[in-house]
């Protein structure tokens, strides 16, 4: 668990990494997100948990505009996401995402999956892109699989490729949508180790997960969501061990009893 001494000293006075105000979203008539507001500072690690249908995935997908929302304001490092084209630029330069189903490109090998973005979006020379990607693949521990195809490697390995692929674009913020939910129990550990490393290296992260171990170890704040709103928000100790609301405690009991 992170203590105040471990936290990096960069409590900067510049704008927060993510600022969400009054976010509301409807699917047809169904009110999916109700007045969500939150401020995330740079290098903060936020874990979001909650029952299915609580809107937690929808929430983080609104941040990088994978979902449209009807009301609310979102800004990234002080730049407001309003207009279509500039919003896309801001997101591309600052935010990366990990998916539950990895979503690797099946027609390209591992190396090309990682170099595609830098080459075509940052106009990076191919050699440079290859070097950068191989270094990242080395960091997540699968450099030896560089010329294999996604269909030929395991789930845990695929998710690690996905991490390398996102990191190749140098994001400062990472959104993770249940990154380990689709993995066999044996493979969860290998991916979590990479996630923890990432957190400790100063990445700002918003992670939707059921892995409370991750929350205990690196999270600065834990958010519990239910039925579209934030029920509780606080340090991992506060929320996980001393919840304020019965709803939270109900959910935690369920999750913790499942783990054994």
């Amino acid at each position: 668990m992170m203590t105040d001494m471990d936290k990096p000293e960069n409590k900067s006075t510049q704008s927060p990494a993510i600022e969400v105000t009054g976010l509301n979203k409807w699917f047809d008539d169904f009110h999916v997100l109700k007045d969500i507001s939150i401020t995330v500072e740079e290098k903060e690690i936020i874990v979001i948990c909650g029952p299915s249908g609580s809107g937690k995935s929808t929430f983080i997908r609104c941040i990088n505009h994978l979902e449209k929302y009807q009301e609310g304001k979102i800004s990234i490092f002080g730049q407001s996401l309003e207009n279509g084209k500039s919003a896309a630029n801001i997101i591309r330069n600052n935010v990366g995402m990990l998916f539950q189903n990895f979503n690797l490109f099946p027609h390209l090998n591992i190396l090309k999956n990682c170099t595609l973005g830098p080459i075509w979006l940052r106009n990076m020379p191919e050699l440079e892109a290859v070097d950068q990607s191989m270094a990242l693949l080395e960091k997540v521990g699968i450099a030896h699989l560089a010329d294999k195809f996604p269909g030929q490697i395991s789930g845990g390995q695929q998710q690690r490729v996905a991490i390398a692929r996102s990191l190749a674009m140098n994001p400062k913020i990472m959104l993770l949508d249940e990154p380990t939910s689709a993995l066999d129990p044996e493979m969860i550990m290998e991916v979590m180790e990479v996630m923890i490393d990432l957190a400790k290296s100063g990445m700002t992260m918003m992670c939707v997960t059921h892995e409370m171990q991750f929350a205990q170890e690196v999270a600065d704040r834990v958010i519990f969501m239910s039925e579209g709103e934030i029920v509780e928000m606080g340090s991992p100790d506060q929320v996980l061990k001393n919840p304020k609301w019965d709803r939270t405690s109900q959910f935690l009991e369920h999750i913790l009893s499942h783990k054994t």
Binding site: P106, R122, P125
Partner: protein
């Protein structure tokens, strides 16, 4: 309990019997099938022999050399009645291929448009595309072919009142007339100039790619260099006296002479089959695009690809994989379906060989073998390439 030792002996004995039995049985069945088939074949062949003898038509392909003696209403390659049946066979094949290739090209293009429109966000466009597909798929192709031929294209005005486009293309109830190119001997210089031009474009592409790999940027003056190469070839063409002339169809008396010509039957068959097949190709394209996991789009967006690049690098390669195998099968179907043009008198293979030639020579068996042989060769060739493509893809899917 039975002692394990005895049980083992008993079961091994049973096993031996089983193996012994099943292999004997399988041989027995196979021999039976061979004899049975041979028996039927013998019965059929002896009948055929008797019947042929009665008709004084011994089996043999020698008739291919004899004179055909009938005219063909249209042929891409030169033909006249003094040529042999072998030539008629060739004419049929060429006509079939011409019709098929035309249909394949245009129905694929149209089909891609239809398939994409089916997925349009605009409700009206999507519905129109959907009903287009439903209407043309559920009416038999033969009905559509006959309809276009009899109701539309045969009812066009006569040559003197043709529909004209730019005074170069003419459509009337005899067919479609278009300008046809002829090349003078000086054209050879343009051809000679074109060869290094193509080579240099090739080299330009390759060096541009290598440059991009090294520096990430496009080669400067890329477009200018391309333009210079093209202009140089055109320069050669002009300097050698513009040796390309177009023969424009001209109305002489009651009909058009010169220029290129395709008969009404071809135009009708082409129109009907292009529209009909564009519906199924459209569905194939749509299914291929829809099969792409939504997550791919999301991942691409999350990395930051704008829509056009996502389309080019992520969507189209994957869609192509899903679409290509059924698409190639549809192309094969088109080649086979072109035979329906026999119903409106277009001189493709079935019409000139299986109908006219067979009626004249009475050589049913030989002609059937030759016609089916062609279609089988075409099918097997295309299937072979399709299998190679599939094998290559399978290796990547892992």
């Amino acid at each position: 309990m039975v002692a394990p030792q005895n049980e083992l002996n008993a079961s091994t004995r049973k096993l031996k019997n089983l193996i012994y039995d099943s292999s004997v049985r399988s041989w027995f069945i196979q021999i039976f099938v061979v004899l049975f088939t041979a028996g039927i074949a013998y019965y059929l062949f002896s009948n055929i022999a008797t019947n042929l003898r009665q008709m004084e038509l011994p089996f043999g392909f020698s008739f291919i050399g004899s004179t055909a003696g009938f005219d063909v209403s249209w042929s891409l390659i030169p033909y006249d009645p003094s040529m042999s049946y072998g030539r008629v066979y060739l004419v049929g094949i060429v006509n079939t291929l011409v019709l098929s290739v035309l249909i394949i090209i245009f129905s694929t293009l149209l089909g891609i448009v239809v398939g994409v429109l089916r997925l349009s966000k605009n409700g009206m466009v999507a519905q129109v595309a959907r009903w287009y597909v439903e209407v043309f798929r559920n009416i038999p192709l033969l009905v559509q072919i006959v309809f276009w031929f009899i109701v539309v294209f045969s009812n066009l005005p006569g040559p003197r009142q043709s529909y004209a486009l730019l005074d170069l293309f003419f459509l009337n109830n005899r067919g479609f007339y278009f300008p046809f190119p002829t090349f003078q001997p000086e054209f050879i210089w343009t051809v000679i100039a074109a060869i290094p031009a193509i080579l240099s474009i090739f080299l330009l592409q390759r060096s541009s790619n290598a440059y991009r790999k090294k520096t990430g940027k496009r080669v400067p003056y890329y477009h200018a260099l391309l333009a210079i190469i093209v202009i140089m070839v055109m320069g050669v063409f002009i300097v050698s006296g513009s040796p390309l002339s177009w023969i424009i169809p001209t109305l002489q008396g009651f009909n058009y002479k010169d220029g290129g010509f395709v008969p009404t039957a071809l135009v009708a068959a082409f129109t009907a089959m292009t529209i009909y097949r564009s519906a199924s190709i459209g569905e194939t394209v749509r299914a291929g695009i829809q099969a792409i996991d939504r997550g791919q789009l999301e991942a691409a967006t999350a990395i930051g690809f704008p829509p056009l690049k996502t389309l080019r690098l992520i969507i189209i390669p994957q869609a192509a994989r899903a679409i290509l195998p059924p698409l190639i099968n549809l192309w094969l179907t088109i080649v086979k379906e072109s035979s329906l043009a026999v119903a409106i008198g277009f001189p493709e293979l079935v019409s000139v060989f299986m109908q006219t030639s067979l009626n004249q020579t009475g050589r049913a068996i030989e002609i059937v073998i030759m016609v089916m042989g062609f279609y089988m060769c075409a099918s097997l060739t295309i299937s072979f390439f399709l299998n190679q493509y599939n094998k290559r893809i399978q290796m990547q899917e892992g």
